[in-house]
């Protein structure tokens, strides 16, 4: 795995004494692409509406103006075509960064993704790597109508050859996207759309160091149980951990950041310390990401566990209409209920 460099702007930041300006996750992502494009002429951004409009979430805003339409391209409206063309571009030495407009609109591209993007290195015995980033705004909670709120991470996770990452903070959005673009392997980069407008006192003038893909991070220290989570559910878990404090639970929160590769080390170290774990995500539970995570943790930490690893997930239903989505999305209460169930006694 390649370790990405920090932004060029870091060098210029020396004399910048002013307080950093709050930035949104969308701005951090945009900055990551801009820095990567400035440093490496082989980085190309493409997708539907990414040029003139700057993307429907404005994440690619200004890139076409700055780098020209050949480097930030409004493509015809065809996801299979976009990703298939990216495969050919990668074959010829470019590093395409592809935007899929919404989670459920990436599905037409699955043939290219599963049969070619994910397998090309393997089929060619390493001769033909696929340094493609596929950016997918995903998840619900923004009142989107049908087909605009899917959590599709399980499909990607189940496909060998793909990396799957998802930021939960503004800083990580920058760092992870830089690392994804620098990666010589395909990365499905899941952007939690309900966090696009979350802010941080993050300074685009001094981007944080970029960690390689594959490292989880402990967002909150605790001793009573570990909440294992990622993307849009990270703020939910942090809020739940604060609320649990009042009830005597001291919860640790692990933000996975990367689903593939999976950081067994950080996760298991935490679970061994706390002896209890709940996996939290908004994707469906049955056959969902939590199933894999709970199984791995059980396999590795069985003798340290005081209770079964529990899952708090979205219901096993197609994503509901916006007026009902709050009943589907796992919120603080469902996390706290699960934590209460961790006082598990054998035989009960």
């Amino acid at each position: 795995m390649t370790t990405a460099t920090t932004g060029t702007a870091a060098a210029k930041a020396g004399g910048n004494a002013g307080k950093p300006k709050p930035a949104t996750m969308a701005q951090a992502l945009q900055r990551a692409m801009r820095d990567a494009m400035a440093e490496d002429p082989t980085v190309h951004v493409m997708g539907e509406d990414v040029g003139t409009l700057g993307g429907v979430f404005r994440v690619t805003d200004g890139l076409a103006k700055e780098f020209g339409e050949d480097r930030c391209t409004d493509t015809p409206l065809a996801e299979a075509g976009i990703l298939g063309a990216a495969v050919g571009m990668a074959m010829y030495g470019l590093r395409p960064v592809v935007e899929m407009q919404f989670d459920a609109f990436a599905y037409p591209a699955f043939e290219q993704l599963l049969s070619h993007v994910a397998k090309m290195r393997n089929r060619t015995r390493g001769a033909m790597p696929m340094p493609i980033v596929i950016r997918v705004p995903y998840g619900g909670g923004i009142g989107g109508v049908e087909h605009h709120s899917d959590s599709s991470e399980a499909y990607y996770m189940a496909t060998p050859g793909l990396h799957v990452v998802t930021p939960a903070t503004v800083e990580d959005a920058y760092g992870l996207l830089r690392a994804a673009i620098a990666s010589d392997d395909p990365v499905v980069f899941l952007e939690p759309k309900r966090l696009y407008w979350s802010k941080s006192d993050w300074s685009p003038e001094a981007p944080a160091a970029v960690e390689p893909i594959g490292k989880a991070v402990v967002r909150r220290k605790g001793t009573g149980a570990t909440l294992i989570t990622y993307g849009p559910s990270v703020p939910v878990c942090l809020e739940a951990a604060e609320a649990a404090q009042a009830e005597g639970w001291d919860l640790e929160v692990v933000d996975l950041r990367s689903l593939v590769p999976f950081d067994d080390e950080t996760v298991c170290a935490s679970v061994r310390r706390t002896g209890r774990a709940v996996v939290v995500h908004e994707s469906t539970g049955f056959g969902g990401p939590g199933a894999e995570i709970a199984a791995r943790v059980t396999e590795r930490c069985f003798h340290h566990l005081e209770a079964p690893v529990l899952r708090v997930a979205g219901f096993d239903i197609p994503y509901p209409p916006p007026m009902l989505e709050r009943h589907h999305l796992p919120g603080v209460d469902r996390v706290l209920d699960a934590v209460a169930r961790l006082q598990w006694e054998a035989g009960s």
Binding site: E48, L53, A80, G81, V145, P321, M323, H327
Partner: protein
């Protein structure tokens, strides 16, 4: 050494076997279909303002007029409802009403309509309850109507994916011996999707009774047609599949109605599919969430306002003496009544049962879903007690 040009212009004495082989005609090759009759009009067909309009039935003209007025009012009302937060989003068809209305009026009751997410108005003009048509966009349920009731497939959000469905349904109807036609609507952007191509190919090979209706409104969100296709017109695409392409002025309600009616009749009598491209313009932004100033000039919109579908038809009706101030007022009042009723009904909060999220996943609930339903019921009860 010979340049390539010189060599290719040397006709006598082919220098070798390769060249000789190149000159051997393919055995018995013939075009499967003569492309000439499949080619679309050289310019979008116009009826209004031409001599051809003399043939138009006055009753049809008046019907189209009333529907256009009602349609425009519906667009305005639905857009207003987004500003009041009553709708999550509304993709307006202001400026495209002639296409929407003609689509609905070209069909018989037994036919099927396969609308895209933008085609609320076509569904309403076909008789769907205006509130049910907006359910998807209000957010209470994905499809707020029973598709069988008016033979309107769900308003389809993933682009072009409903087109193969239309082919399959039409094919099935024919297999059953029913003379049912499917009209499938798609935007200019949607024609780039693989599903568009696959649907057209299936329809042509099966000679399925389908009409593909492209509303070319100039943009796919921000992307202009020039970045979507290099074809002379979208209607030209038909030739490659072996079906006729028709090009029509999408703001001329009479022309669109005529072309669609012909295509539907042709499909019904076993003539196979047609691809119709209507050239029109999206006056409003893509949706209320879009900022159209980022990608288009104001002047362009003004030019299209002068070519407004209502204006074009109104001129004709007035010149013919079919429409006067009273007629105009009557149409406007009918539209206003519809809007007032829509406003009133949409201003009532929908009564939703959260438990319904488990009701339609399978014909019979799985054990897991029954457990999850019990969990939600308990949560709701606890909420109620709190």
């Amino acid at each position: 050494m010979d340049s390539l040009q010189q060599r290719s212009s040397t006709v006598q004495e082919p220098p070798g076997a390769v060249t000789a082989h190149r000159h051997t005609p393919s055995p018995a090759w013939q075009p499967r279909t003569d492309p000439a009759p499949l080619l679309p009009e050289t310019e979008p067909l116009r009826v209004l303002g031409t001599d051809a309009v003399a043939d138009a039935d006055p009753a049809l003209l008046l019907r189209l007029y009333a529907e256009l007025i009602r349609g425009r009012r519906y667009n305005a009302q639905a857009t207003a409802l987004t500003k009041q937060g009553r709708l999550a989003v509304y993709p307006s068809t202001t400026g495209q009403e002639a296409c929407e209305i003609a689509a609905a009026l070209a069909l018989e009751e037994r036919d099927w309509l396969f609308p895209s997410y933008r085609d609320t108005l076509a569904a309403v003009a076909r008789g769907l309850d205006p509130v049910q048509a907006l359910t998807l966009l209000r957010g209470d349920w994905h499809t707020g109507y029973d598709p069988h009731e008016h033979r309107i497939a769900p308003l389809c959000t993933p682009l072009a994916t409903q087109l193969p469905h239309a082919v399959g349904l039409a094919h099935a109807a024919r297999l059953k011996g029913d003379d049912v036609v499917a009209l499938a609507m798609v935007g200019d952007g949607g024609t780039s999707e693989g599903d568009f191509h696959e649907a057209l190919n299936f329809a042509a090979v099966w000679q399925a009774p389908v009409v593909f209706f492209v509303q070319n409104n100039g943009f796919a969100i921000s992307v202009p047609l020039a970045k979507q296709t290099a074809a002379p017109s979208l209607a030209h695409k038909a030739v490659g599949y072996g079906m006729p392409g028709r090009l029509v002025d999408g703001n001329d309600a009479v022309a669109v109605h005529q072309v669609l009616t012909e295509a539907v009749a042709r499909a019904r009598r076993g003539g196979g599919p047609t691809l119709v491209e209507a050239v029109t313009y999206r006056i409003d932004a893509h949706t209320n969430a879009d900022d159209a100033t980022r990608y288009r000039a104001d002047g362009e919109v003004e030019a299209w306002r002068a070519h407004d579908p209502i204006l074009l038809l109104e001129r004709e009706l007035t010149e013919r003496g079919l429409l006067d101030e009273d007629g105009r007022r009557a149409a406007a009042e009918a539209a206003e009544t519809m809007a007032a009723e829509l406003r009133e009904r949409m201003n009532a909060d929908p009564v939703l049962d959260p438990m319904e999220i488990f009701s339609h996943v399978y014909a019979e609930q799985t054990t897991q879903l029954r457990e999850q339903a019990a969990q939600l019921r308990a949560e709701l009860e606890a909420e109620g007690e709190a």
